[in-house]
């Protein structure tokens, strides 16, 4: 019989190990691209840039420094934080719904967020006081509304929110969103490029401002999710069980749904629909650290960052100098993992 001896929390050594792996992949991602830069030169540029930043001096100049600091660094940082955020959102949803197949893409929440972003562009929707954040606010709002609609529909069909129901409703909702997108394309041909971007997902040409936005979202919404690790453990054993051991199920459910919508909405508004990150990473990480959310959620942060950095690296280098949309790479991997999980869960049932 399999015996599993695991700590309740992540030990400092485990944090160090996961951070070291993420750091190594980060360095490789910054080094490689259409122009490869030696690791030593990359580290030297990064070190000099950090020193210059601390001293308040201008950043180092030169071709390598320019490529690294202006193009690669903001992009890889954005990719890493987006991966961490999407992975955390997926892990939280899988715990909340007690369903290992729940994710922004399988539920259709990412599509909903993309619809919000595209709607704001096509109709030029702006919010008073937030002139630059119309797309983001609409993406977050639509993500939340989509999540509420999908879960309400799924609950009406099946109170147990079983895997089959979740997938069925997710597929139907995604098709519905897809048809709305087609209508928008028909009536707003000028915006076809933006719409295509949001449906395929890409983190090309991201700036430090984008990095800051995703980082703040991760800090706020991700922090809220990390604080609810014990409650998500209880939900992962079933909502009735969570209620019976004293969890305020309504409050926790609403908080997690808002936090997940916030994370997915902000990520979609920055990088479009990058599918399956929240499905693949928590699943892989769970095999290593177990299902306890006190360990799973921190590990998913690192795992998501690593997974998306590797996917981005493949997207940038596979057909270099041409580039694949990152969402295509994650969806290719995600579809295989999805089938594996579904097959295993059916076999188990």
């Amino acid at each position: 019989m399999a015996k599993k001896v695991r700590g309740d929390h992540f030990s400092p050594w485990e944090y160090l190990l996961f951070a070291a792996i993420a750091g190594a992949v980060f360095c490789v991602s910054v080094c490689l691209g259409s122009v490869n830069i030696a690791l030593q030169d990359t580290l030297s540029v990064l070190g000099s840039a950090l020193q210059a930043l601390l001293r308040g001096e201008p950043p180092p100049s030169g071709l390598s420094a320019s490529i690294i600091l202006s193009i690669r660094l903001p992009r890889v940082l954005c990719v890493a934080i987006t991966g961490a955020a999407l992975s955390l959102a997926g892990g939280a949803m899988q715990g909340l719904l007690k369903n290992p197949l729940a994710d922004g893409s399988t539920l259709g929440v990412s599509s909903g967020a993309a619809l919000g972003a595209v709607t704001s562009i096509v109709f030029g929707i702006r919010f008073p006081g937030l002139p630059f954040a119309g797309t983001m606010v609409m993406a977050v709002l639509f993500a939340f509304l989509s999540l509420m609609l999908i879960l309400t529909l799924a609950f009406q069909l099946d109170h147990a929110l079983s895997t089959n129901t979740i997938i069925l409703v997710g597929v139907i909702f995604s098709m519905f969103v897809s048809s709305l997108m087609s209508i928008l394309i028909t009536f707003a041909a000028d915006h076809i490029q933006s719409i295509t971007f949001w449906t395929m997902g890409s983190l090309q040409g991201k700036s430090y401002q984008d990095v800051a936005v995703v980082a703040v979202a991760l800090l706020v919404f991700g922090g809220a999710i990390l604080c609810l690790a014990r409650e998500l453990n209880a939900f992962a054993m079933g909502e009735d069980n969570a209620r019976n051991i004293g969890v305020n199920v309504r409050q926790v459910r609403l908080t997690v749904l808002i936090a997940v919508s916030g994370l997915i909405g902000v990520c979609v508004s920055i990088g479009g629909t990058i599918g399956f990150v929240g499905l693949v990473t928590p699943h892989m990480v769970r095999l290593i650290v177990g299902p306890n959310h006190r360990r799973l959620l921190p590990a998913s942060l690192f795992g998501g960052a690593v997974f998306l950095m590797l996917a981005d690296l493949v997207a940038r280098t596979l057909l270099s100098p041409a580039e694949l949309p990152i969402g295509v790479v994650t969806s290719l991997v995600g579809a295989v993992v999805f089938v594996l999980i579904f097959y295993r869960s059916r076999k188990g049932a």
Binding site: D8, N233, N244, G246
Partner: protein, 251 residues
């Protein structure tokens, strides 16, 4: 300890529990019996705030609707009939979740009191040797003992059981009921249990509540309630004759 007054649960037009009133006294095991669809499990679910209801449910004089979930969990523990599991938590992790209502914060759950309660619950249910085993690999009986250990670790004053041994074989039935009877011997405790098996109700119950179509048909000692005059109209058969016929197979 528990006072239920005019409890009514409706699902749309259909009234599942109809103005049900009963008390559950300290030191006693109250058995709720009745045919399928009588509203037994629904009444229990309402008491644990799992479904909307009319009427009042009070615990030691306090309306449970006004109690915070954690406080309610320190007063009332629940063992369900089915506990389907989706993830490979260890037995120890599941039992530790029972301490949720006693601790708070991200780093909670590791106080000496928590460790003692979890260890005691694991030992008492015989699950200590399985502590590092995944719950996905347990048999039905072991899984139910794991959740019983969780509710023991929760350390409530009142235990609500919803047909806890319905899908278990005789060995596990005996184990679970004996463990609960032992738990009840401690001061300040009570048990309310939904059961199908009238023999179990007779053997372990101090009080029996008979439900018929959501309404109270009889309430009293097992001798008073489990009598032909109450049982036969509700079950629409000669219950005692059937029981005797079944028992005669063993002589």
């Amino acid at each position: 300890m528990l006072e239920v007054q005019n409890l009514t649960v409706r699902y749309g037009e259909h009234t599942v529990v109809d103005h049900l009133s009963f008390p559950a006294e300290e030191g006693q095991w109250l058995m709720i019996v009745g045919p399928n669809g009588a509203g037994k499990s629904t009444a229990l679910k309402a008491i644990t705030q799992g479904t909307a209801y009319e009427g009042t449910v009070s615990f030691r004089g306090q309306d449970v609707r006004r109690m915070k979930p954690a406080k309610l969990a320190r007063c009332i523990g629940v063992l369900l009939q089915h506990n389907p599991v989706a993830y490979a938590f260890t037995v120890e992790e599941v039992v530790e979740m029972g301490r949720y209502a006693h601790t708070s914060g991200f780093l909670a759950g590791k106080a000496t009191g928590d460790r003692t309660a979890v260890e005691d619950a694991l030992q008492r249910t015989g699950m200590a040797e399985h502590r590092h085993q995944s719950v996905l690999t347990l048999s039905g009986g072991e899984l139910q003992r794991t959740f019983l250990a969780q509710v023991f670790a929760q350390d409530p004053q009142l235990l609500l059981l919803d047909e806890p041994t319905n899908h278990l074989d005789l060995v596990y039935q005996k184990q679970i009921f004996s463990l609960i009877a032992e738990w009840l011997k401690q001061p300040g405790r009570a048990v309310v249990s939904v059961v199908h098996d009238l023999s179990l109700a007779k053997a372990y119950g101090d009080r029996v509540l008979l439900l018929d179509n959501g309404k109270l048909a009889a309430f009293g000692t097992p001798e008073e309630v489990l009598s032909p005059e109450h049982l036969n109209p509700v079950y629409q058969m000669d219950v005692a004759a059937w029981m005797r016929e079944m028992l005669s197979q063993w002589t």
